[in-house]
Assembly symmetry: C2
Homo-oligomer: 576 residues x 2
Amino acid sequence: MRSLLFIFFIVISASLQFCLVAAEVRNFKWEVGYFFWSPDCIENIVMGINGQFPGPTIRAKVGDTINIELTNKLVTEGVVIHWHGITQSGTPWSDGTASITQCVINPDETFVYSFNVNKAGTHFYHGHYGMQRSAGLYGSLIVELEDGKKEPFHYDGEFNLLLSDWWHKSIHELEVGLSSIPFRWVGEPQSLLINGKGQYNCSLAADYSNSSLGTCDLNQAEWQCKPQVLNVIPNKTYRLRIASATSLSSLNLAIGNHKMLVVEADGNYVQPFAVDDMDIYSGESYSVLITTDQNPSMNYWISIGVRGRLPKTPQGLTILNYLPNDASQLPVSPPPITPSWNDFNHSKSFSNKILALQGSPKPPISAARRIFLLNTQNLFNGYIKWSLNNVSLALPSTPYLGSIKYGLKGAYDDKSPPENFDSDYDIMKPPINPNSTQGNGVYTFALSSTVDVILQNANVLSGNVSEIHPWHLHGHDFWVLGYGEGKFNEKIDVEKFNLKNPPLRNTAVIFPYGWTAIRFVADNPGVWAFHCHIEPHLHMGMGVVFAEGVEHVGQIPNDTLRCGLTAKMLTTGQLP
Amino acid sequence: MRSLLFIFFIVISASLQFCLVAAEVRNFKWEVGYFFWSPDCIENIVMGINGQFPGPTIRAKVGDTINIELTNKLVTEGVVIHWHGITQSGTPWSDGTASITQCVINPDETFVYSFNVNKAGTHFYHGHYGMQRSAGLYGSLIVELEDGKKEPFHYDGEFNLLLSDWWHKSIHELEVGLSSIPFRWVGEPQSLLINGKGQYNCSLAADYSNSSLGTCDLNQAEWQCKPQVLNVIPNKTYRLRIASATSLSSLNLAIGNHKMLVVEADGNYVQPFAVDDMDIYSGESYSVLITTDQNPSMNYWISIGVRGRLPKTPQGLTILNYLPNDASQLPVSPPPITPSWNDFNHSKSFSNKILALQGSPKPPISAARRIFLLNTQNLFNGYIKWSLNNVSLALPSTPYLGSIKYGLKGAYDDKSPPENFDSDYDIMKPPINPNSTQGNGVYTFALSSTVDVILQNANVLSGNVSEIHPWHLHGHDFWVLGYGEGKFNEKIDVEKFNLKNPPLRNTAVIFPYGWTAIRFVADNPGVWAFHCHIEPHLHMGMGVVFAEGVEHVGQIPNDTLRCGLTAKMLTTGQLP
């Protein structure tokens, strides 16, 4: 017995030692500021990090601790950064959502985001205050497997493609438009960017089209907007890590002549499937494998185009460059044509192909609670808003994490928001009563309980239109149990839920006039945003707040509490 | 004896009652936000108050208490408001200077500015954080005499003219330019505004000139940029209250055919003198009297034009409209010609005419301390800055008022900044060593001591240029003892100080290659900014910080302390 214990001890020690060696603490020192930049060859100011746009790519390994010492060098604006796809288990105050998990970092102040990355995947980070993501505050966050562990697929090299959209107007002007009577929509973005690079006043593919734009000279282009060419060797397999930080645009990505094998979605393995093109919504990430088995004497297009909205923004383009060809040798054919913006069947077909890789965690077979969230566009005091069950989210000035943990009265609506909507509601028509309310109540879940959310889409305020909304959940992955057309019918549709191999995601789309069912386990003590990832939509109230086990949250750093009522609480020195 | 005491009691009671009746508490509820506006007929976003640009005019009487409940409805920016010309005696935390007297008001938070107005005068208020004044955050603040008291001059009516300048670029872009390598100057403003109204794409005086602009149709102009016409009755006397909130421009104001009698400067009576035109620098205010004794069948121009910088901005214009003439009846001659921008003799002549009205408070005959501030343009780490005695002001993240009062270490440079500069310094040439330092030390004065400041102008960084700088002191009026050419010579120039009737001001200009001597009594416990009122210059470090008697400052409201090190201090619950 004693020797057994001894062996056990040796094994544990060795494992611990291995962990200590393998897991690293990665320290970053960042300054957020505005600077002049030409993301699409037109000079503008961007919000970036350490003078870089997009911000620096973080690469880490599972188990690592990331410390980002973030100093706000903006002149008059606060700032936060959300680590999209990181669950922040044990560190809910590092989720970087203004009004929810922390007070914003004021100009000239520094805050240290410190968190563990516990799962491999393709992620990104971005501003989560006002419309600072639209101002350019984003970058890639890649978590690799621990040393010695292998992905369930092979590749010889990888590329990282962070997709975004870009306006020439300032975010302040965009924000004012959304909060004006009459309402002024931000309009379609001027450019699509791949790794922060696009071309507004020229086109790589000008020679193939009747475009009035001139041809971009790849060699002469200003470096800030010169497309990042993907240099590949023939007959190899490459992993493309693709994430969309777009503010508005749903995108479709295609590579001329090459099929893509989808293997990862939002940091979770999926049953590999091949496609010619793929939709990617804001907040989503994917890994696809491509094999460079085409005619090696040629180069090929990589293109992104707009889906889901009548596109007024040109395709974003770059080149898959078969070495040793010259990068400026353009493909023989025009870039792949983006599927028609309103071909939703094409989109649904793609979404329905995404299934969990065999062996992935399965969802609990039932949920303790099922919440229905009707997505409508409404009026509030004459302002156009988005609402869930007729409540448009107006974030409080005291972040929830502190106000809930310390039981502060009056920090937010203490009445739980509605869990359902009128069964008579006709989702196919504009709302009969166009007026909504504003609120900031919280859906509170029993810790470790299973929750279903049925996201129900509907017609917008006027006209016969229903829009796409990609919903992103903080702090959790969820299983996508199914998508459906029309109004969710609990009696029929629950039976059709995919409990066998539903994919785990952190972002799921609702299609026009349809519904999407998700399930998750509320096992992460904290307060978590769940919202449409289209930034203007969130700004117009399209989100809800979830909370669970806040009493189990550890000591919240004071630095995250120095605003609103938690600041007043700290001042009294009376911490509950 | 007893009856005497009784009479005394009666008299005191009656006086108290009078005071109680006369002094009012004036409550305002303001929301600061951005909204669309067309200050110069070109739509843009402005930062205004309660949807108004400029913000509402405050009118109060001497002795009144002003309470402004200010809610920040900006999305991501903090805000403060400075009450320019109000000494904030006893309420230094209400001076509204970010980093000096208070932590900024964060979005969705409310702060109550509460202060007494103890002297009559023409004042204004404006943002004092980043370049928010340039974004449009300003308005008029008029303090009238107590009921029953009379001005030392007569007038039949009054008008209020708040002057400003306006760029079409966002302040964020302007700010970034100032903090870039290579440096990018903001450039001359697109328009001059009178009461927030200007005309960029048309000219009221187009018919008189070879302007390529069309004529503004006074009746058709959009109301936001339609000039405010001054409707007057013949043969009356009017008081024009004029204040300049310009970000950059020094202005000259003239009224066709009418002389102006200057009677007030920065809220202090001056010996009346008549002029055909007057210079007004940013931060200054004046009252002038005009008599409508000209041909009553005609209307007359009121014009403002740029001085001190090669003007690239058209004149700002409006009409003095003799009733019952129609306002659209334009004057027969073109608008008054603004004196040549570099005719500094004209400017000096005007400044030298400003003398205190007989009976005004006189300065102490000597000063306990004399500080020399050499104004130079320098480089700091390659960035262009303005410096005083080679120190460019970099404001700390903890406001001084709290950090000094509570003796917090490390909140600012505890070494007092230099009181003089190298006697060999050649003010006529660019600096030999172009590099400066940054700092945020404080000049601390013995309470109630008399202080002289000699502002010494010099050549800029390169070329043979010296610029105009209007210096504004918070918390005090000062006597302007004299202006001089070249380098101040203590042996000779002190003897020439005007101690007989120097004007009291809160803003004084230094002319190119010249000096200005001011004297004040440091009798207002608090921490006070003293800076060039040109907003980009302050942003580039052109200011110093004065403090006196901070130990006598009353209980500082916690709301002004919730940032930086004072927030940390409050958190510990250990108030010294």
